[in-house]
Chain length 369, copies 5
């Protein structure tokens, strides 16, 4: 694997992950006021509608939300997917049609929610976090996905257009799998399943980056790597904040007493729960590994430093006594008999050589280098 490739420079780290996100509730407003708290990501909301049962299916893009209302009342399964949440009026209208509680409407557009499941008798309200690496894999983005699951309809709210659900659309269009044979609850399950499956993709990418990091830390520890470790830690924090509450959501779905979840779907939800637990365990394992990497980095740094200091100190130490000897014979005493000897100079040089050798042998014996 190309280490350099996997370790792109961390541009504008601070701009990417705010430690405390700005998208939380605006203080002071009365509860139940629907105000979109994210950045507007699409020009105008896109309303995509699927209406299907085992025998037929119909697919279209609605101009106005009111166009979808007749479909909701038919016995066929209706799936309304809304991309873009800044149009408060649209959401409010839909909320009135589906008899959503004002707080539910607020939560749909207040996009900093943690995953949760609320049972409102006539419908279930589910909030999830979808994670994705943006184009250059540089950073992880978190988007809110809200689902309303009614008797025979599912409404999904996303902040922007995405291709995450294309596989499900294909399955509906071409009768793949069992989605056309089952109810709205299975559709909702399938949507959540796609989100959870995508966590595995992200974990794989993250795993690759971490292994590249480990290799880099071991071979050449630089301060940039430390920052990258810090960066990865934050991504894992983001993952944990998304998946831990998800477990409660899925186990809530499984144990829910709502008659909206049929027994046939419940088996699938249990399977989904297993996957969620597996995601959590993998996240925790990844987290443990990254936690140990700072130590690895520090010990790699100090190893290199020690090596430098050791070699240099040894060199210095060898020369210091020699310099002293040279200094002695540089003294200007009048009566220094050695200076007059014929072989004084060669003997002094030899003495120096022997002293240096003795020290080198001693250091070797002690296995200092």
């Amino acid at each position: 694997m190309n280490v350099k490739g996997a370790l792109r420079p961390v541009r504008t780290l601070k701009a990417v992950y705010r430690l405390v996100p700005r998208v939380l509730k605006k203080p002071g407003l009365p509860p139940g006021t629907p105000v979109y708290t994210g950045r507007q990501k699409v020009e105008r909301p896109k309303i995509a509608v699927f209406d299907y049962d085992e025998a037929h299916y119909e697919e279209r893009v609605a101009e106005r939300i009111e166009d979808c209302f007749p479909l909701v009342d038919t016995p066929a399964i209706t799936w309304i997917n809304i991309d873009g949440l800044h149009d408060a009026e649209l959401i409010t209208k839909l909320g009135e049609k589906l008899e959503l509680h004002p707080l539910v409407v607020e939560d749909i557009v207040s996009v900093g929610q943690r995953p949760k499941l609320e049972d409102h008798e006539k419908h279930l309200f589910i909030v999830l976090r979808m994670l994705s690496y943006n184009g250059n894999e540089d950073h992880l983005e978190s988007e809110q996905l809200s689902l309303i699951l009614g008797r025979n309809y599912v409404v999904s709210f996303q902040e922007r257009e995405g291709d995450a659900f294309d596989a499900i659309r294909e399955r509906i269009r071409y009768l793949r799998g069992r989605v056309r044979k089952m109810g709205a609850d299975y559709l909702a399950y399938a949507l959540i399943d796609v989100v959870v499956d995508h966590y595995f993709v992200i974990l794989e990418q993250l795993g690759d980056r971490i292994e590249a990091l480990e290799a880099a830390v071991a071979s050449e520890p630089t301060p940039e790597l430390l920052r990258e470790i810090h960066h990865v830690k934050r991504e894992i924090l983001l993952l944990r904040k998304s998946v831990w509450p998800l477990r409660e959501v899925v186990s809530g779905l499984e144990r829910s007493e709502s008659r909206l979840i049929t027994k046939a779907t419940r088996v699938f939800v249990r399977d989904l729960y297993d996957h969620t637990v597996q995601v959590i365990e993998t996240v925790e394992a990844v987290r443990d590994t990254v936690a140990g990497m700072t130590d690895l980095y520090l010990s790699a740094v100090s190893n290199r430093m020690n090596e430098i200091m050791k070699v240099l100190t040894i060199m210095a130490t060898i020369f210091i006594p020699l310099t002293f000897l040279a200094g002695v014979y540089g003294m200007n005493f009048r009566y220094m008999p050695e200076l007059e000897w014929r072989w004084g100079y060669p003997v002094a040089l030899g003495l120096m050589f022997v002293a240096a050798m003795a020290m080198i042998v001693y250091f070797r014996r002690k296995r200092w280098f």
Copy 2:
């Protein structure tokens, strides 16, 4: 962001956060003795009264607490807000009117309480901690807010005057939101909601400071930053002590069997609970991040130190053998043939130059600098 601006000097740290606050119960006094344990922050208590139902509202400042008593008995919702708790007589009188237990009265004025919820059948007693940065954002202050929620009244006790509840006052005055349409329980909910929303504001400010700190630690680690990290850790400690018990309070309200909490309000309390959990999770994430910052600081310090030591040691090492050579040719032996050579001096200088170059090349090869 201006790092310098975000990192004002930490004046009088010790004076601000006592590790063990002084405001705890005075030992020896019989239980149930109402003694204000805080510092007196207002000259005399201010009693502000709201009396409203869907059709009308009335607002005034009462001179004496007794003036409010008739309002409590009317069917309209009465909200009495008392700023300043040092007047034991006032509180005691009110306590007698509302049939508060002596321990409740004591807890209202003994302002070091942790958040709690007590069900006294005729009323609920709720204690919260309000946090705020004082003017210069230098430190976090914690104030006790006590609420008595009765059938058709709410009494709130604050240590000082503040503008936290102005938004609610506006909503009552101008019929915004649904506060005028609902009961005293909704008013109590709205008050708590304001407190929780304010935690988000504080978390944002704290998040900004921490990110400024992180940038500063990475660019130039100074001991002041370490003290600042320590300071932030204490603020987070204060936050945790305020919000963890709050969760129990809010979940207690939600699950409470008290008939004082209507079903309509319970939905809002559940929403409040979600916010509380979100606050807690954010606090924990902030805490984890700050916990890792000491390591970041230490590694930044040792990185800088290592760099200095490395360059200096390398320089020293290069000159030590050269100095030895110079020493050799400074010896005063009578018979040193090199000294007599015509080109002795230039050759010696050249030798030194070559030795220095060889060492530099070696260090480069080893990637020591």
Copy 3:
């Protein structure tokens, strides 16, 4: 605050806190053998008796334990306080009178017990730990307080005479508070309340010492401070061992189905429980702070060390090339034209000066000092 004053020398640390206390059960003896396991702290046990109801009270010091027995049978509340536990016969006699289980008698004199609550139908047996700083605040002492709460009597056992309960005696004598109006259960509550209140006093003192320590660590880290930190950690260990089980005791009292605890007292016990939780939280906060102090110390030490090393290394580095230059012109080559120059010496000195300046400027640029 006077740092020096708060940091008295740690005399004979080891003698004070045994990591594993010696006061545990003697192995081999049959269970239920009453043997005092502490050091004898008073010459002979002091038996102080209060007998009171709302209308009258009587107070005396009994010579023999048998003198108190008639009072126990009267309907008035009787409080027997015994200071000094080494007289096994006295305790055994009392145990027989009150029909205590032999294991209870053993636990009363085996003074290394952890706090606990036992319901023996006819009476409750409560064990607490009283903590106190001895005179010079040098170290924390832990003493066992055992309580027997019967229908209309309380017996309290202390290892030595103390003034902890004087406030309660005053309240009984002078009819302060509600102790004279309520039953034996309220008296027991009041005794425990005093113990818990005293923990706050100790926590304040501990908090002051820790803050003085923090200041000292930051300004001048010495190995003595590290030992002091270690010492404080042990005190906190002692505190934790006392207060964590206390919570179970108090919550056990609150939830107890014993008819010995009246409903009126239960409200006070709930309040006591809140205080206990507050003590625990404060202990944990103090513990967290102290846990971080070793890091603070180590980083302060290494900061100072780094500073020294840095300045010294810089100085050495500046002089090493200069010394080399001096060495070059100290060589004895016959043909060294510079030596003959008129301005050779000043030029050499100037060269040295320039080299030194260049290095100083370079170090400044790199912000090494």
Copy 4:
């Protein structure tokens, strides 16, 4: 023990343990699609069938899975063992015969499952992880073992051929133990028991390697050892991921209300549970020990480094003042009376010797070496 032998070089670490395994579910596919997610390890699946009761037994290798179906319907216990999971058709056919849920079929071939137990009324579905060191003990491999336990049959699915179950085959063939006398549930128990017993073998090998590592770290700390520690940490991570969920599986079997588990077998399952807990405790103890080993390594490294630095610095320090003295008498002042003295040179040498001795004595006194 031969340290070198136990510490074979860590070849291609990354290839062995992917931090995030690739064998997880493929995103996008409809749930219930059986796709083998491992690497194909055998050319074609091997189907080994045992059919036995107390009186007789029959053993054969089936060519086609359909050949086994008649045996499943007989009252005798049938054990079908399938090695190799890449033939989706085979598994699907068997799934139809045994009325397995499509998700169960998917889980059997999707080999990254965590251990679990599912009760499908007519059969129990059990997933386990088998761990083994490959030939050269270099790394740990994890393989999925799935079991279907029906009224009178057990089907086991393995990824490759192995000899783990040979002992059970022997017991069936030669009537050893009680396997022939008991039902299919006992056979399933016996298979799980073999897996758990094998964990002990792996733990012993791991324990030996860790002890060899400890000895090596103490005697000669090299960076390779640090990598080896890191490697062992990952193996322990793998172990933990296998055994923690196993506990739930076994305790689920013990408490299961399924009539497939007879009372006689339940006693054995309880015993199995004890073993599982013991495995977990040993894994945790091993983990604690390895966690402390990084510290041991770092302190061993810094000990060696300190020793080197100390001796070298002492040597340098002794010679520096001597060199200064030599320098002084190398000065060229015209009027330096010592230089003219008859005994100037020997006295100077003596002075140097005395200074060196004094320093050595001083260092010794301070116990610096």
Copy 5:
């Protein structure tokens, strides 16, 4: 306390505590096969029998286990103590007589069991770990004690002869305590009580060693101490593995619904439970203390190192500029006027002295030494 005495050299550490003990179940064998997994510690098993009721007692050593069987059937309490477990036939015979489940027989001789309690209706099966320091206090040994408690008999199995139960034998012989007045359940309680009491003895010895270690670490940190700390950590690990499950055993006994435990004994078991909790808390406190000792050691080492480096570096730094000065006046320039001055030499020496003094004063000011 004599530090040296308490810190005997750690001989053959590895031989003593295997990280993963060898005494676990042999893989492959059918469950329920009784194979002794320890080392044979006695030549032949010793069978000691007590038969007693309140009125009489009888004591003897049986040659064959069959000799004890008649006693078991009498109404008097029978205590059979077997030292030495390698004789599978003996254990099997006894197991048949007492109707033990084959797995119980296996557990008795498979001596790596963790403490547990099993209720087999006709008898309780209890496994404990007895810990003891061998003669020279050098290391802790762990031995398995198994108890079978029936209606009127107790059978105890030990791996070797020991004097742990002599105190109980004395009590039976000489009618001390209440053991002769109570049933077999009290005898079993008394045996467990002895084991728990012995933990206190071990904790005291361990506490002494740890305090000696602490003193030694502070005064003179040597690598041997670090190994000793490591050694103590393993001993604590062993203690924890013995006492944590013990708590479940004792609380299981207390809450057990078995009619084998009478109400009178249950009070004693509750007391035993308190002691067990106290042991656990002490072990945890000891563990916390030892966990902090590595830090203490490292900081002591670096303190000493820092001290050495500081003094030496300061000395070196003082002489380096002086040597430079000497070098300057050792230059051979023809025109160096100072060299010709009458007072040149003394002035130069004076200059050097002043420079050295100035540096010493500066260092003092900065409080570097």
